[in-house]
Amino acid sequence: MAEILIRNGFVIDPTRNINGDVADIAIKDGKIVESVGASAKVIDATGKTVMAGGVDVHAHVAGPKVNVGRLMRPEDKLHKSPHAQKNYRMESGFSIPSTFKTGYDYARMGYAFVMEAAMPPLHAPHVHEEIHDTPIIDQAALPVFANNWFVFEYLRNGEIENAAAYIAWLLKATKGYGIKVVNPGGTAAWAWGLNCLTLNDPVPYFDITPAEIITGLMKTNEYLGLPHSMHIHQNDLGNPGNYEITLESLRLAEGVAAKNNFGRDTVMHSTHIQFHSYGGDSWGTFESRAREVMDYVNKQKNISIDLGCVTLDETTTMTADGPFEHHITNLNHLKWANTDVEVETAAGVVPYVYDKNIKVSGIQWAIGLEMGLYAADPMRTFITTDHPNAGPFTRYPRIIKWLMSKQAREETLASFKHTDKVIDATNIHSMDRELSLFEIAQMTRAGPAKALGLSGMFGGLSVGMDASVGIFDLNVNDMPSDPEAIEKAFARACWFIKSGEIIVKDGDIVSHGNKRTIWVKPNVAENPQVIRDIEDKFLKDYSVGSDTYQVRDYLAPNPYVIEFDVEA
């Protein structure tokens, strides 16, 4: 593979505490190296910012519910699809882009890795088919576990070892990455049209509560020593006053210690926390509780979060939180898709318009940004939109702009119909903090890579790391006075190099790269009870065979397998 030398850029690498020093980055055979020969291709980055490739900790980009959204929303394509680049695949869609557009757009923004945030295990082959068709970016997928009958039964009986053996089997069977929790217990209740709105609501027929599921899965995660922590979408998402249950679930992490060999310190990743930080007792009294939640997150060092910022777009909500999507369709009366998945989970999809003329949308927008601005530790606070739920991932540059510029925030705030009401219900208007490029690099690169247990590969520019490098048109010593220039710079990288190959030049795709599917294979001791339980459930409860269920190797043709032995 060719050698590349990136010269004279302002390097921002939080993993080595480098903040805008002018330096060269050398690349050889897909890795960052000390130096390269004279024949290396030289990229002049003078006056530009150089960062590691972006790492997205949570986005819905591949799989059945994403595709339901694409299928059911032709209007998401109408006048919203860009024209294809010559000799590249066609690109479709805005809030739920086609797989090709997903890969291209992430690359244009300089992202190297994206985590598909919720994989229904039964649909794992579908998820991998889509990942296969998403060019350039490395991807992994988190199977959902918190409404799974095996997990209920093992955790109810306190059988962490069996839960671990089952999860290890399932990660291998589905080529999954870690433990995703979505509305623990509530989604299983939704199979009967019910929900679990507090941590102590028992799951119908299973005699277990959300609190027990969360605690049990957190323990199982550390028993296995997985690269990523348990990744949770909490109960009671999206409702006024839910910040209390959010704090209650976060407290479950107290006293749990991370145990792994991947450099991860956290035991719980609380995702799209904007949706979980609401005060008030109705939409009329709806208000921000970002400060209360972030005060707790800031002092509780074994938790990481991502923001789930509302971007004020027409988008598509989709989640394994089935009852919530039913709730939302009753709020906005738009079309509703639902898929309950036997034994495992459910999902729903509803289009949604975050409208500047609606007070609640404005407050939600403010809450997402407040959480980022209250963050004391950007290494545990990551930028997301819960794509596409709060907005499409292509708006990350806009969020960065808002976080980096009070002026930009004030302009948006002033454009609302109910500016005063939004100001009354939030703190954003009084917040002067403007994040630095260094903090942005922590929130989009170094931080998520560490939380995912991938800090040896992504998030930094140390020698030996994966050579994924973005070069952005921003001069550290002369930052633009117009905040729009920040958004523009992050929307289209000048250059993006993925695993040592030039992918983007002047904002255009120039190669399909060498995408990898990353999955985790923990080896546990053979567990006859779990093997028997698996056979039994496939005979009785599933509508497919256990053999049919397991993802064939050819569906992930370029795998990067993180394999390790679990010490019992």
């Binding site: 032709p74 739920i96 088919e129 068709d133 639902n338």
Partner: protein, 457 residues
């Protein structure tokens, strides 16, 4: 010793059973026996062995006869014909795997074709309803495990999906339906007394073409309003009784078929069926599912939605972006208007299924069929290219009617030299690239399958 292969997928109907067992000969070349398959599924496995199966492409000659030609020649003809055409139509895909659909999509994009599938003449109206009203559904295992009221509306699985009722909907013992059929109340809405209707506890013999009225009556009753003494030929009391059964159920499962999509009202019938499902969810849990016909006809809707954003009627002829507008870009309408100047029929039989006037229009231009077997379309084609039979000789992913991906197996080798749909269309694509002197677009280098790397621990 002959060997039983288990958990084999069945390439027949949308129930996509994956519990077949197939006995293959010592040399792994012949299917001797099948277990668990329905009569039709069984026949597909045996028919694949037929010595009369074509093993080379056949090209129409000036005198009207068909002559065997090499695959290279057939591929060259297909590539050139697609490139020469202004608006080619590539249609079919009920009976192939997703790998094949993906390969065809690449060809269609290159050739500026219209890409459409059998839904266009089948569950297309359901798509229109889904675009407007969504799709509150579930997997078939949910129906098996929970549904205590099952509604079959305008569908007859006893004939069209022979094992549907035993695997998913009427007879099986599920987790919360431990007594099988005894746990379930079956409602059948059909103008005929079908074999499914005979199994029902309530058969509502709806007046033909009046499905919408009856759906509306159910919604009206569920919302607490009065209805006339008779709606759609059904007495008020019968409707009230059936509505009560649904309202008092723990889990209502509604299956609908061509009787909704191809009778008066079409997409409006499906639309209101979805609304009825939404309404029922205010009282209990309810789900709805289209009875998709072929084992992988849900596949193109999935593959093309993630590739182009649309499930069917995809016009790629603009070259820059995909465009869907059923009525304008749907196969029959395009054909009837004489807009198509090259037709490729893949894994279906447009000759048997299209209206004769549409076929007459298509026949004015090159007409190519890609299918393992002789069918009406192959016999009127200018070129017939045989391929391997998915599920028998070729593995791959298929999507069951509930959009669950099922990984089909191969049980025997295909005839020597006969490619899969995927291989065939990849070769057509490469030939098109040669002819246009362009670089082929592969997302992943083809040899990556072997390049598995392991993290160092």
């Amino acid at each position: 010793m002959p060997k039983w292969i288990t958990q084999v997928g069945c390439p027949y109907c949308g129930a996509s059973c994956d519990d077949l067992e197939v006995l293959v000969s010592d040399d792994g070349k012949r299917v001797l026996e099948t277990r668990n398959a329905c009569a039709i599924g069984n026949e597909i496995f045996h028919h694949a062995q037929s010595p009369s199966r074509p093993k080379l492409p056949r090209m129409r000659q000036p005198d009207g006869s068909m002559k065997e030609v090499s695959y290279d020649e057939a591929i060259d003809y297909t590539a050139k014909t697609l490139l020469a055409a202004k608006k080619p139509l590539i249609y079919g895909f009920g009976s192939t795997n997703c790998e094949g659909m993906s390969a065809v999509a690449r060809v269609a994009e290159k050739g500026g074709a219209v890409l459409d599938n059998c839904a266009s003449i089948c569950h297309g109206p359901s798509f229109l309803a889904i675009f407007d009203n969504g799709y509150p559904s579930c997997t078939l295992g949910e129906a098996k495990n929970r549904a205590d009221v099952v509604v079959f509306w305008g569908c007859n699985p006893m004939h069209a999906h022979p094992r549907h009722t035993s695997r998913y909907s009427i007879f099986p013992r599920g987790t919360f339906t431990a007594k099988g059929q005894m746990t379930r109340t079956i409602i059948c809405v059909d103008p005929r007394e079908t074999d499914t209707a005979k199994l029902a506890d309530h058969h509502l013999m709806v007046k033909q073409g009046h499905d919408y009225d009856l759906f509306d009556a159910f919604r009206t009753v569920l919302r607490g309003h009065d209805i006339p003494d008779e709606v759609a030929g059904i007495p008020k009391k019968t409707i009230l009784d059936a509505a009560k059964v649904m309202k008092n159920a723990r889990f209502v499962m509604i299956f609908f078929g061509m009787g909704c999509t191809h009778t008066d009202g079409r997409n409006h019938n499906v639309d209101i069926a979805i609304s009825l499902t939404r309404d029922l969810n205010a009282h209990t849990k309810a789900s709805i599912m289209a009875m998709r016909g072929h084992y992988n006809i849900a596949g193109p809707g999935q593959v093309w939605s993630w590739q182009f954003g649309f499930p069917y009627c995809i016009d790629l002829s603009k070259g820059t972006h995909a465009h869907m507008n059923p009525g304008e870009t749907s196969s029959i309408d395009l054909a009837m208007r004489g807009e198509i100047d090259c037709f490729v029929n893949v894994g279906t039989d447009a000759g048997a299924h299209f209206p004769i006037r549409a076929v007459e229009q298509l026949k004015k231009h090159p007409f190519i069929t890609v299918d393992p077997n002789i069918c009406m379309a192959s016999e009127i084609s200018d070129l017939h290219i045989p391929v391997r039979v998915v599920g028998v000789e070729e593995p791959g992913v298929v999507y069951r009617m509930d959009n669950v991906p099922i990984q089909f197996k191969k049980v025997v080798d295909g005839p020597e030299g006969v490619p899969s749909d995927e291989e065939l269309f990849d070769r057509v694509y490469e030939r098109m690239c040669e002819l246009t002197e362009t670089e082929p677009i592969w997302l992943l280098a083809k040899d990556h399958a072997k390049a598995a790397t392991n993290a160092e621990q």
